[in-house]
Amino acid sequence: MDINSIQTQIEGDLAGVVSVQALEEARIKYLGRKGMIAELTSSIPGLAAEQRGIFGQQVNALKNKLLGLFEEKEKTLKTQSSVLKKSNLDVGMPGIVQELGHIHPITQIIDEICTVFNRMGFSVVQGPEVETEYNNFTGLNIPLEHPSRDAFDTFYLKDYSKLLLRSHTSPVQVRVMKTQKPPLAMVVPGRVYRPDAVDASHLFMFHQIEGFLVDENIRFSDLKGILELFAKNVFGRDISMRFRPHFFPFTEPSVEVDISCIICKGRGCSVCGRKGWLEILGAGMIHPNVFKQVGYAPGIYTGFAFGMGVERITMLKYGINDIRLFFENDLRFLRQF
C-alpha cells in the first residue's frame, strides 16, 4: 500500500470519529507505539537502500500531517462539546478577568459636571495654581484690605512677593478675558488652597469648578436657566431650587443657589441643618469693574460667572461624611467609586 492511499484511508477514518474517546482509539491505532506509523518506520531498515531515503521522508511527512490532523480534530470535538459532552463548568467560580482600576471620586464628579456644561457648549480650560495677587484679588474687584477678603484666606509664597496659591478658580476668568474677546463659554476645574484648620468639612486644599459665559446680551435670567439645567442634570429632575441674593465682590447682582435637600427631600434633616435646603454654588452677573480690569470697553458685554466646591457636591451625592477621606487615599474608600 502506498503512502497516499494510507493517508486517504486515515482521513476517512477520522471523519467518522465523533467522540474524544474514539479519537484516542484512532490515535493509538495510527500513531501509537505499535501503530501503523511505528510499523511503517520499523519496516524501513528492511527496504532496499535506494528506497529507504525517499520512503523515510514520506513516512515522516505523513506522521507530521497526521499530528496536525489529530490536533485539529481534537479541537473540533472539544469546541462542539455542547452536543457531545456535559459541561463541568461551575459558574460559582470566580470569573477570569483583568481587574479594572478606579478613578478618584473627585475626578469623576469634575468630569460629570464638565460634561454637562460641555453639552451646553462650554469648553473646559485650566489655569495655574500659583497665581498673582492681581489675578486672585485686584482683577476680580476684591480690595486687598477689606473684610470681603476674609472669605479668601490665602497661602502666600516666601521669596516670591505678590505670588500666592490661588484661593479660588475665579482668577482664570481674568486670565481668559485678558487674552480673549467674547463670546466666551468656559468651565474651569482645579485645585485651590486656603489656610483653613482641618476638620471633617474643611481642608487646606480642595477643588472648585468655575464657569462663565460672556457675550452681548447675557442676562440674569440666563444664569438661572443654565444653572437650573446644570443642577437638574447632576442632582436629578425632581429637585427644587432657590436663588438667594448674596454678595461677591466680582459679581453684581450676586446669588447663592440652593437645591432642596437630596437626603430628606426638603423636609429637614441633619445633612441640611434642618433647613431643607443645601447650598451648592455661588454665582452672579460679572461685575462691570472686572470687565474694566480686563480691558473690555464698558457697556458692550455682560455675562455671568459661577463657582462651586467639588468636594461638597461629591460628599452630598455619595453621602460621604468626612472631607479628609478624599486625600487619605485609602483604597477601601477609592475602590467604592
Binding site: 470566580p94 477570569i96 478577568v97 483583568q98 479594572l100 478606579h102 478613578i103 473627585i106 475626578t107 468630569d111 457648549g121 462650554f122 469648553s123 473646559v124 485650566q126 495655574p128 500659583v130 484690605e145 477689606h146 473684610p147 470681603s148 497661602f155 502666600y156 509664597l157 516666601k158 521669596d159 516670591y160 505670588l163 496659591l165 463670546p183 463659554a185 485645585r191 488652597y193 489656610p195 487646606f204 459665559l213 446680551n217 442676562r219 440674569f220 435670567s221 440666563d222 438661572k224 432657590r242 436663588f243 438667594r244 441674593p245 454678595f247 453684581e252 447682582p253 450676586s254 452677573m285 461685575h287 462691570p288 478624599f326 486625600f327 487615599n329 485609602d330 483604597l331 477601601r332 477609592l334
Partner: protein
C-alpha cells in the same frame, strides 16, 4: 448677627409670623441661619454679607423689613439736651490725623449711678448673646446693637489731665485691655490716649485703667468714626475681635453717629441719672450723597425682566432712597449715607432685583456660542486616566503642599530650590512639592499598612519649581506599584511580584495609545531607568532602594514607580487616528526558541534580526521568556516570533526558508544563542 422679633417691632410694624419673616429675609439676601424661640420672643440669627455694614443693627434690619413688607420705618431723632456746666476741668480733645479719625465726639455725663442694668435691658442683650456688665456699659452695647454705632464710655476721673488725644501709638507703648491682656502697640495702631498714655485701642477695645466700674462717678461717652482699614489692620495685628471692630472695619454710618450718642445719653440719664455736662466734637460727620442714574431699560435688559418703572420706583423708595425721574426710563437715585456700598447703576439693579424677588425672574436659556475646539491638556490627561484605570490602576489625589521630611525620606534634597509657603498653618504645608512620587510612596505605604496585598496607584498633578523670579508649574504623571500581580488561569491563580517590567508594560501601553512614537527605556543607574523620547528624557522608572523603603517602613516588599513630565511629553502625543490597510495576504510565523546569555540585551538582538529580515520580515518579537530548569545558569530562555509578510503577494515556504535560516545563523553566530 442676632436680632429679636420684638426688638424689630420697635422700628417697624410686622404682621407676618417670625417664620415667614425669616423666609422673606433669607430670600432678600439676609440669610436667616437659625430661628429660635426664646420665651415669648424669637431670636433670628442672620448672616450679614461684608458689603452691608448697615445691616449690622436692629434698625438696619428693620429698614429691610420695611422694604420687603411695605410697612413704614419708625425712626427716632433725639434732640441735643441743655448742657449744665459743672465745675469740671474743661475737656481737651485733639485728633492727630483726620484721615485716621474723620469724626470724634465726647459727651461728659456727671454724677451717674453705676449699677446693674434693669431686667429688660439685660434680657435684650442676653438674647443677642451679649453679657451684661453694668448699666453704663450695657447701654453703650445696647446702642451698638440697636443703631449699629459702636460707643465707648470712659471713667472720666481716670483720665490724666482731662485730655483725649486720638493719635498713633508710639513704638513699645503698651495697654492693658478690658479683658486683662497686655498688648504691645506700635505706630501702625490708632489709640485714644490721655495726656500720658493710651487708654483705648481706637474702635476695637477699651483699656482696663479707664473702664467704667461700680465706683465710677463721671463718664466720658465716645462716639467717633475711625478709619476702617486702620481698625482692620490693628485688629489683625493684635489678634483682637470685638463687636465694635467688626462694625468699624466694615464702615459705620457717619451721619448716624451723633444720633447714637444722643440715644445713649438719654438712656443713661434715664437708667443711671446723671447730668449732661459737656459735649465736644471734632471733624465732619457729613458724607457725600452721590446720585446714580438708573436706566430702567438697562435694568430689565440685564435681568431679563419687564419690571415697570413704577414698580422700580416703589422698591427704591421703600429702601429709603430719594429719587427723581429724569426721563421716562431714567431715575436719578440719591444714595443715602448708610449705603456707601452703592456706586454703580448695577448696584441699584441688584437692589431692585432683591426686593422684586429673584424667584420672580423666569429662567431663560441663552444661545451659547461654543469656542474653538482645541485639544488641550485636559483631554490628554483624561485619556491617560482612562488608559490607566483600564489597566487596573487606582487614581489617588494627594496634597500639593508637603513637609520637608517627606521629601528627605524620598531622597530629595531640601536644602535649596524649594518653594516655601510664607504662612503655613502646620509643618505639613511648608513647601510646594517638587515631585509627585514622595506623596505616592506615602499613599502606597499607608495602604500597605491597611493590609492591602497589592497597591497600584497613579496621580496626575502639578509640581512646582522656582525659575528666576517665577514659579514653574509642570503637570506630572506618577505611578507607584507594589505587591503581587494576581490573575486566574485555567491552572488556577497565578501570583507574581510586580517588577519594573510590569511598570514598563503599563508605560508602553500608555505611550502607544497616546500615539507617542520612538520612545525608549535606558538604564541610568542600577535601579533607575530613564524614559526617552527623541533623545530627550521625559521621565523615569525607579525600583525603590532599600533605604527609601526603610524610611517609609515598607518591609519585605518591592516598590516600583514612574514619573513622567506631561509638559515634555505633550509634543510627542498624537491622538489623531489614521487608517492603514488591513494586510491582504496571510503571514507566515516561525518561532525560534533559544537560550541566550542573560547579560546580552534583547533590544540589540531584535534590531539585528529586523535588519536582517527586511523586507520580508514584518515583525520580530519576544513571545515567551523562561528561566529555570532546562536553561543553564546565567542564561535566559527566549522564544522569538518572526512574522513574515509582504503586501503584494502570499509568501511561500520556499521564499522564507533560506531567510529564516539566515536569522537562526545570525542568532547563533553574533549572539551566541543555543537553539533549543
Amino acid at each position: 448677627m442676632k436680632v429679636t422679633y420684638s426688638w424689630l417691632k420697635k422700628f417697624v410694624d410686622i404682621i407676618i409670623s417670625p417664620q415667614e419673616l425669616a423666609e422673606k429675609l433669607t430670600m432678600s439676601g439676609l440669610e436667616v441661619v437659625s430661628l429660635e424661640k426664646r420665651g415669648e420672643n424669637f431670636v433670628l440669627e442672620i448672616e450679614i454679607t461684608s458689603n452691608r455694614p448697615d445691616w449690622l443693627s436692629v434698625l438696619g434690619i428693620a429698614r429691610e423689613v420695611s422694604a420687603i413688607t411695605g410697612s413704614k420705618l419708625k425712626t427716632i431723632n433725639f434732640q441735643e439736651p441743655k448742657i449744665k456746666r459743672k465745675n469740671l476741668r474743661p475737656l481737651k480733645i485733639s485728633v492727630a490725623n483726620k484721615q485716621d479719625c474723620s469724626f470724634y465726639s465726647a459727651r461728659i455725663i456727671s454724677d451717674v449711678r453705676v449699677s446693674p442694668s434693669p431686667e429688660w435691658l439685660k434680657d435684650r442683650l442676653e438674647s443677642l448673646g451679649c453679657r451684661s456688665v453694668n448699666n453704663i456699659v450695657d447701654i453703650t452695647n445696647y446702642c451698638l446693637f440697636e443703631l449699629g454705632q459702636p460707643l465707648h464710655a470712659f471713667d472720666l476721673d481716670k483720665l490724666s489731665q482731662n485730655e483725649i488725644r486720638v493719635r498713633r501709638a508710639n513704638a513699645n507703648e503698651k495697654i492693658i485691655t478690658i479683658d486683662g491682656a497686655t498688648k504691645l502697640l506700635g505706630p501702625e495702631i490708632l489709640v485714644i490716649a490721655d495726656a500720658h498714655h493710651p487708654i483705648a485701642i481706637a474702635g476695637i477695645m477699651g483699656g482696663k485703667e479707664t473702664e467704667v466700674t461700680f465706683k465710677t462717678r463721671n463718664i466720658l461717652l465716645e462716639s467717633a468714626v475711625f478709619n476702617p482699614l486702620l481698625v482692620r489692620l490693628a485688629k489683625q495685628r493684635l489678634g483682637l475681635q470685638s463687636e465694635s471692630a467688626y462694625r468699624f472695619e466694615r464702615g459705620v454710618d457717619s451721619e448716624a453717629v451723633r444720633n447714637a450718642s444722643l440715644a445713649a445719653q438719654e438712656l443713661i440719664l434715664k437708667l443711671a441719672s446723671g447730668t449732661p455736662s459737656g459735649f465736644r466734637r471734632l471733624g465732619v460727620s457729613k458724607v457725600t450723597h452721590p446720585v446714580i442714574n438708573l436706566d430702567v431699560a438697562y435694568l430689565n435688559k440685564l435681568l431679563g425682566t419687564a419690571i415697570p418703572v413704577f414698580k422700580v420706583k416703589q422698591i427704591l423708595n421703600r429702601l429709603g432712597f430719594h429719587l427723581k425721574t429724569k426721563s421716562r426710563n431714567i431715575l436719578a437715585v440719591k444714595v443715602p449715607g448708610f449705603r456707601q456700598d452703592l456706586k454703580l447703576p448695577v448696584d441699584l439693579v441688584e437692589e431692585v432685583a432683591r426686593i422684586y424677588g429673584y424667584a420672580q425672574i423666569s429662567p431663560t436659556l441663552p444661545a451659547v456660542k461654543p469656542g474653538r475646539k482645541v485639544l488641550d491638556k485636559r483631554d490628554v490627561i483624561g485619556n491617560i486616566k482612562n488608559i490607566l484605570w483600564g489597566l487596573g490602576l487606582d487614581e489617588v489625589i494627594t496634597y500639593s503642599l508637603v513637609d520637608r521630611g517627606l521629601l528627605n525620606k524620598s531622597g530629595i534634597n531640601t536644602d535649596a530650590g524649594l518653594i516655601e509657603i510664607l504662612n503655613p498653618l502646620s509643618k505639613e504645608q511648608e513647601v510646594l512639592r517638587p515631585a509627585l512620587y514622595p506623596s505616592l510612596i506615602r499613599a502606597l505605604a499607608y495602604n500597605l499598612d491597611q493590609q492591602q496585598e497589592r497597591v497600584s496607584i497613579f496621580e496626575v498633578a502639578n509640581v512646582f519649581s522656582g525659575r528666576l523670579n517665577a514659579v514653574a508649574e509642570d503637570s506630572l504623571l506618577g505611578i507607584a506599584l507594589c505587591g503581587d500581580s494576581a490573575f486566574f488561569t485555567k491552572q488556577g491563580l497565578v501570583r507574581e511580584e510586580i517588577t519594573l517590567l510590569h511598570l514598563k508594560g503599563i508605560l508602553e501601553t500608555l505611550l502607544n495609545r497616546l500615539g507617542v512614537k520612538g520612545f525608549d527605556f535606558l538604564r541610568q543607574e542600577d535601579n533607575k531607568i530613564n524614559i526617552i523620547i527623541n533623545q530627550k528624557q521625559v521621565g523615569f522608572m525607579l525600583d525603590l532602594a532599600p533605604q527609601t523603603l526603610g524610611a517609609f517602613d515598607i518591609k519585605n516588599r518591592q516598590v516600583v514607580l514612574a514619573q513622567v513630565n506631561l509638559e515634555q511629553l505633550s509634543g510627542s502625543i498624537n491622538l489623531e487616528k489614521k487608517f492603514l490597510n488591513i494586510p491582504k495576504y496571510p503571514a507566515i510565523t516561525r518561532n525560534i526558541s533559544f537560550a541566550i546569555n542573560e547579560d546580552i540585551p534583547v533590544k540589540g538582538l531584535l534590531m539585528a534580526v529586523e535588519a536582517k529580515g527586511a523586507p520580508l520580515l514584518a515583525q520580530a518579537k519576544i513571545v515567551d521568556y523562561y528561566q529555570g530548569k532546562q536553561i543553564p545558569v546565567g542564561f535566559k530562555g527566549l522564544t522569538l516570533s518572526c512574522i513574515y509578510r509582504v503586501d503584494d503577494r502570499t509568501l511561500t515556504e520556499g521564499e522564507i526558508a533560506p531567510l529564516h535560516q539566515d536569522i537562526c545563523s545570525l542568532l547563533e553566530e553574533r549572539f551566541g544563542v543555543k537553539l533549543r
